[in-house]
Structure formats: structure tokens, C-alpha cells
Amino acid sequence: MSALSRASAQYSEKIDTEGLLGDPKPMWRQAISRLLAIRSGQIGLVIILILLFIAAFADVISPYNPQQVLIGVEQVKKRDAPCVHFLGCDTAKPQHIMGIDGNVRDEYSRVLHGTRVSLTIGLTTVSAALLFGVFFGAVSGYFGGWIDMIIMRLMDVILGFPSLLLAIAIVAVLGPGIQNALLAISIVTLPQYARVTRASVLSVKELDFVAASKVMGASHRHILFFRVLPNAMTPIVVLATLGIATAILDAAGLSFLGLGAQPPMPEWGTMLGSERNQIFSAPHLVFFPGIAIMITVLGFNLLGDGLRDALDPRLNHS
């Protein structure tokens, strides 16, 4: 290591230690405390925490295996209405608080396990889109020039298609299935993260502390990933939180069309799609998966709104 590089590294460590370039920890701690003070953020967080709990312990809290067919096990028949003893249902009948589905399975257990599937879908797709979107956006914004032009035009091409239509086209080519649906949703949402990251990097890279790093001889990689990106993440975090809700909705839409999760996987969109014709004869089979999707999307939207307010420096949080 040359003397100049050693000096640069020591300078960087000193700066980081003193937090002069904006140590993210205090900022995030502040943001979380602000989030907890915002009503929409509170509600969103509570919903998400409950959903995470259900997803983690679905096997324990579900009364039945979601794939267990109850023919011959209990005196139930397909599409039986909900039976809740507390609400007056005959105690001689087995209790199924969300009823029985078309294949004579407990709807409640399937809805609970659907939480796990939907959260996995949301987090996986957003993670994948974040990983690649942020990388492409950061490189594009930081280096500019022909790299920027190529990456952004590519993103413009993807954005040129309606997202769900493009996802359907991708799944149609790759074949129906949950993995291909995840891949398709990741691809169609990727440009949003790339664009937001690029915009954020463009503004951050002009700040003085980045210039200081350059003067001290820090490498582009170091500047981009350790100086610029950490300070450009605020809008990306908000977008990702809201993006989970969109991803869950898109995945449910694909599954509703038969292109996403396949039977017998307990996925809310699949459950809705398979019983859509029974909306009048067995409304509970459409209602409960629909409500589950709505609550989950609401939770992530509220949390996203709260985070946006909490992280927005223009708002007076005092």
C-alpha cells in the first residue's frame, strides 16, 4: 500500500468514526423513532408484525394442514359455509371459521399459510429487484456517459410495457409457476429501483464529502458503495416498502390468472381464482383470501407512507 493510499484509508476511517460524512446509525435511529410517532406507520408496522408472526408460526396456529382433504375425516362437504361455535354454529359440527373450500380443505388454514407464501413472494421479488435495480441505478448515476445511456434506455424499454402485461408475457414464455412468476415480477419492477437510485445518486455524488473522498484518492468502488449509496438509500427504502405491496398484488394477479402459484399451494390469488365462479354460491371462499390480500397490501402501504414521512428531511418532525 502506498503512503498516499494509507493516508487516504486512515482519513476515511477517521471520518467514519467521527460520523462527519453522515454516520447512518443515528439517522436510522431517528427515523425509526419518528416512524413510531406517525399513526399510519404505527398501524402498518403492527399489521406487518402480525403477518410476520402468522407466517412464522402458521404450522402451529393452523388447525389443519392446508393441503389436507377432509373427506372421510370430518362430516363436511365442499364449500361448506363458515361454522363458528361462538357465533351459534351447532357444536356437533366441526368448527371451520372460514368454511371449507372446493376441494374440502379448511379455508382458515389455507389463508394462514397463504400469509407465508405471499410475504415470501413480496420480500423475494423486492429483494431481487433491489439488488439489481440499485446496482444498475447506482452505476448509471455515478458514472454517467454511455454506461448511463445504455442502462437507462434498457430500463425505459422495460418501463414501456404495462408491468402486469409484461409479467404475463414473461410467464407465458417461461411457463406457469411460482418461481417464474417471482422472476417476472422482479424483472418488471427492477427499472423503478434503478431510476430512483440513479436520481438519488446523481444528487448525492455532487455533495462535498464525495469530492473530498475523490481528492483523498478513494477508488470509485469505495466512493460509490461506501460513500454515495448509504446516503442515497432513503427514497429506495420507501419505494421498496411500497413495492412489497405491489409485488404481492402482482403475484396474486398472476396466480388468479393461473400463471403463478399452482395447486395445491395455498396462495391467495390462486384461491381466489379457483373459486371465482362461486362468488354467489360460496362467497366466503372469495371473501377471505381477498380480505387477506387487502390487509397485507394495506399494511405495507401504511408502513411505506410512514417511512416516507419519517425519512423526509423537508418535514418538520420536532
Binding site: V69, K78, N103, P176, Q278, S281, A282
Partner: protein, 540 residues
């Protein structure tokens, strides 16, 4: 002056009649060089303007029942020679029926208008509209809203509500049918008979009937519904025995099962009212009883029919059959006779008996052959017969003469909606309107108002009644059928119907060398299967 002119014209006409006789009728013929090709029809000859003779290679006692079937509809000779060759016939049929096609609005409806030169009783209304909706609830909603007059295939869950609705008529459908789980024996592991037998024993068919079929449905003891003569002779199907099934699967080399797929189309049929639920139920049973992991794959209807009947599906597939005409050959010959590739390589143990039996008119004489054929089907398990389903149609109370015949689609020309338009809603859009090359029920139903056959089915049974032929009679051996045609019949394009139209229409289907033998897919399944193959087919 006028008088002289008129007299002159009359005289000219008289001279013309005397000196230039009317062009003699030149009858068309379609023929095979001989009967060595294995098919049933040796030749079809337009003997005179209103007589057609079918010379058969072997007796066919079911000739009249087959000839009444929609795929053997008659279109004008000239139109077959042009539109049949360039392919335009598949979307614009010209027939002699009570309605002529006005428009096929793709994705929405088929519109017909009354044909005022129809030879028979004219419909009581002007416009007939066919629409479709693959959702049982959707169809019923439209009926309740009064936007359609009759619907097919009421969902089993809606039977009671339809019966109790004062504005609706519940119409039971007694069409014999069979739903089966198909396998193609050219794909492993279905090429192993022990695997197929294991599957035959490993599926609890009664559980499927009890939970997913309406009342009146029954477990299939044989492939053909027992209401048809000779259908249920021979040993009944295997009892549900998962232990024996697992043993057989282990003997076949699959002690832990295998991975495969269950293909189906999400279309409501009388033999399969809730396909997606039955697919998942079969998936569950295969997993629990046999350790077979089957992925459920839904396919587009036309593609599914094409792939399954061509023997190109590598997994299980759920399909069924509704009777087209009241004879056992309609079930067994279509599925298992020589040349059929739907289940892979056909079995001579089955088709040899079917070919012999199909030439025997007497039911008792044919019985031993059907016993052997049914037992061979049971032993070789080309598929697993699951159910004979009950189904129902529904109509507005105001629809006069609403009906659903046991064979064929409703003959809506006899209905009276009490207004100018009758709207009929079925499950799906027709694949094409050239029904010589279609097997799909929705296509056949949509052809029926336009294209007529030599004979027709009675509204309440499978017996035939005269249509374009006033009579079809056979010689003593039932090898020569002579049909006398109705005179004074007009096609929708204004041309007159004669024997050459019959020969041209049949030739397009049965003669592989005919330039009009193109159709929609070119498979002309009913010609191939019901008459044991095409004449003049290339050697390969």
C-alpha cells in the same frame, strides 16, 4: 307487337327445349381403388340428381345414426371446391339449415338470421345468437338477468336454486357420457401396463363422484354408459385397492411413485362439471395413495383437445366424451379402434374385436366381441374411466318448447322466445364452423343451425328422422345404403341441393386426396374414426 314478341319468345323457348336438351346430370363419385385400405366406405356415388349410394366394404348397422351426426353436414358442391380448398369454409359455413350465418364476432358471439327459403318449418323468430361464458355462475347470472334465453351446463351447486326460481326452467340432460383419466402409452412410465393397472386400482372413484358430481351421476363400471346396448358386458372395472396398487407400482419399478403432470382444460362439461377441483382431487389421491407427484397443468381448450387426441401429452389428462349418436361404436370405436393414437399405440386385443363387432347388426350376436373388447380395456388400461356425469340446462320460463335433446345440440328452430331474438349461451366459443373437421361440442352446436345432415335425431331420443334425405335404406347385408334426397331444397347462397353436394361434402372429409381435405386442423377425426380411416391416403 307485344303479342308477336311474346309468341316469338315462347317459340324460341320451345325450340331451345327441343333442340338443346337440358344438361344431363353428371353425378360425382368418390371412391377408393378397393377395400384394402381398411376403411368402411368403398365409394359414394351420386346415382342421379336425388339419389346417393354409399357402397361399404363391410356392413355398418349404425350407418343411419352416424349419418345424422353434425360433422357429416352438407354444403354446396361449388363452395366445397373453392372455400374448402382455400380454407375460408372454416369460418363461413353455407348450409340448408333454418338459420344462415350473419356474423361470427370473435370473442363475443355468433349471429344467425332466419333463412326464409328453408324447406321445413320456419323458426318463430328472426335472429338467433350464440354466446359463451366459461363460468357457470356467469351463465346463470346472464340467464337470471334475462340477457340470454337458455344456458348449458348449470353448475351442480346451482341446481336447487334454479329449480326454486319461478322465472326459470330446469332441464335435465340425459346425454350418455364418460369422464376418464387418460394416459399415453408411448411415454414412460405409462408404457408399463402394471403402472396403468396400479393407477386403475389406486383412484377412489366413488369419492370423486360423491364430492364433485351432481346427484344422478355414477361411477363408471365400463367405459361406455350402460344405457347403450352391449356397453356393460364383460367384467366391471377394478375396485379401489390402494394396497394392491402400491404393490403393482413397486413391481413396475416405481415403489416411491414418480413425477408427472395432470393436464386438463378448464371447460365445464356434463361429464366433468368442475374440472379444476377434480384435477386437484386426483392430484391429492395420486399423492396419498400411490406416491405420485402430479403437477396440475391447465391448457387452452383447443390446444388441449389437439394435443390429447394426437397422443402428445406426456402425463395424465382428464377428458371425457358425450354421446353423439346412440350406439356403442360412438364410444369404443372412436377411442380404441385401429389407427387411434389418443392413448398411444392402439391395442389389437381391443380393436380387432371392435372392428368385427361394428359390422354386426344384431346386438346379441355382437355381444361376445364387446365382452372381449371391454375385458381387454380393463386388462390393458389405456385410460381409467371415472364417471358418467349428470348435467342440466336451464332456460327462461318464457322460452317456449325449451329442451335439450339426449343427442346433439338443442334444435333451437323449434323454440319460441316470444320475441324476435333468441340468445343461447354455451360454455365456450366454437373452434371453427366447419364441423366436418371438429369434435368440440361447442363447435358442433354452433354448426347445427346452419348445416344439415342427411338424417336428424329426434328431439327426445337417438332415433333418426328424415332431414335432407327422405329415406336411407340398406340392402340385406347392410353394405349398400341408398339415400333418397329431398327435392326443392335451397342452400343459403341460393343454389339448389342435389346428390353432388352430398358426395362433395363427404369426399372432403373421407378422401385424403381431395383438394378440400384441409379443414381446420386436417384431422377430420369423425370421418377417420367412424369410417375406419381415410380412403386414398398417402402410403406413409
Amino acid at each position: 307487337m307485344n303479342k308477336i314478341l311474346l309468341g316469338g319468345l315462347a317459340l324460341s323457348a320451345l325450340f331451345a327445349a327441343v333442340s338443346v336438351p337440358a344438361a344431363a346430370f353428371e353425378g360425382r363419385t368418390v371412391a377408393a381403388p378397393n377395400c384394402d385400405y381398411g376403411g368402411k366406405i368403398e365409394s359414394i356415388v351420386a346415382q342421379d340428381e336425388f339419389t346417393v349410394v354409399f357402397n361399404l366394404c363391410k356392413p355398418d348397422p349404425a350407418f343411419k345414426a352416424k349419418a345424422a351426426f353434425t360433422p357429416f353436414g352438407i354444403e354446396p358442391e361449388e363452395y366445397i371446391d373453392t372455400a374448402g380448398v382455400d380454407g375460408s369454409i372454416i369460418s363461413a359455413p353455407i348450409g340448408t339449415g333454418p338459420f344462415k350465418l350473419e356474423a361470427w364476432n370473435r370473442g363475443d358471439s355468433v349471429v344467425y338470421s332466419r333463412f326464409d327459403d328453408y324447406w321445413g318449418e320456419k323458426p318463430a323468430y328472426q335472429t338467433l345468437v350464440y354466446r359463451w361464458n366459461d363460468s357457470g355462475a356467469g351463465r346463470l347470472n346472464e340467464l337470471r338477468a334475462g340477457t340470454v334465453d337458455q344456458i348449458t351446463n348449470v353448475s351442480p351447486d346451482d341446481y336447487d336454486s334454479v329449480k326454486m326460481d319461478d322465472n326459470l326452467q330446469f332441464i335435465p340432460v340425459v346425454n350418455p357420457n364418460t369422464m376418464y383419466l387418460g394416459m399415453t402409452n408411448t411415454f414412460a412410465p405409462f408404457d408399463n401396463v402394471k403402472v396403468r393397472q396400479a393407477i386403475a386400482m389406486g383412484i377412489d372413484r366413488q369419492r370423486i363422484i360423491d364430492n364433485f358430481y351432481p346427484a344422478g351421476s355414477e361411477v363408471a363400471s365400463h367405459f361406455t354408459p350402460c344405457s347403450l346396448p352391449n356397453a356393460c358386458v364383460g367384467d366391471p372395472w377394478y375396485d379401489f385397492d390402494p394396497v394392491k396398487a402400491k404393490e403393482l407400482l413397486a413391481e413396475a419399478g416405481y415403489p416411491n411413485g414418480f413425477d408427472t403432470k395432470i393436464y386438463y382444460r378448464d371447460v365445464f362439461r356434463g361429464y366433468l362439471p368442475e374440472p379444476s377441483l377434480v384435477a386437484v382431487e386426483l392430484q391429492t389421491q395420486l399423492r396419498d395413495n400411490l406416491g405420485i407427484n402430479a403437477e396440475v397443468v391447465v391448457m387452452e381448450s383447443g390446444e388441449f383437445i389437439d394435443e390429447s387426441t394426437s397422443g402428445r401429452l406426456d402425463g395424465f389428462y382428464m377428458l371425457g366424451w358425450g354421446a353423439d349418436y346412440p350406439h356403442i361404436t360412438n364410444f369404443l370405436d372412436y377411442h380404441f379402434t385401429k389407427g387411434t393414437v389418443q392413448f398411444g399405440n392402439p391395442f389389437p386385443e381391443i380393436y380387432d374385436n371392435l372392428i368385427t363387432a361394428s359390422t354386426i347388426a344384431d346386438t346379441a350376436t355382437a355381444e361376445p366381441y364387446y365382452v372381449k373388447a371391454n375385458n381387454a380395456i380393463r386388462e390393458l388400461v389405456p385410460m381409467v374411466p371415472i364417471a358418467h356425469g349428470a348435467s342440466a340446462s336451464a332456460a327462461l320460463k318464457t322460452l317456449g318448447n325449451a329442451h335439450f335433446p339426449p343427442f346433439g345440440a338443442p334444435q333451437l328452430q323449434f323454440d319460441n322466445p316470444g320475441k324476435d331474438t333468441l340468445v343461447y349461451m354455451q360454455n365456450a366459443e366454437p373452434i371453427s364452423l366447419y364441423c366436418a373437421d371438429e369434435t368440440d361440442g361447442e363447435s358442433l352446436a354452433a354448426c347445427q343451425p346452419v348445416v344439415e345432415t342427411l338424417l336428424n335425431y329426434k328431439m327426445d331420443s337417438g332415433d333418426t328422422v328424415p332431414a335432407l334425405a327422405t329415406d336411407c335404406s340398406a340392402n340385406d347385408e347392410a353394405t349398400v345404403w341408398t339415400c333418397t334426397l329431398r327435392q326443392g331444397v335451397k342452400f343459403h347462397d341460393g343454389s339448389s341441393f342435389d346428390a353432388n353436394d352430398v358426395v362433395a361434402s363427404w369426399a372432403a372429409g373421407i378422401d385424403a386426396s381431395n383438394p378440400a381435405h384441409k379443414g381446420n386442423t386436417g384431422s377430420f377425426d369423425y370421418y377417420a374414426y367412424l369410417w375406419d380411416g381415410f380412403m386414398n391416403a398417402p402410403a406413409n
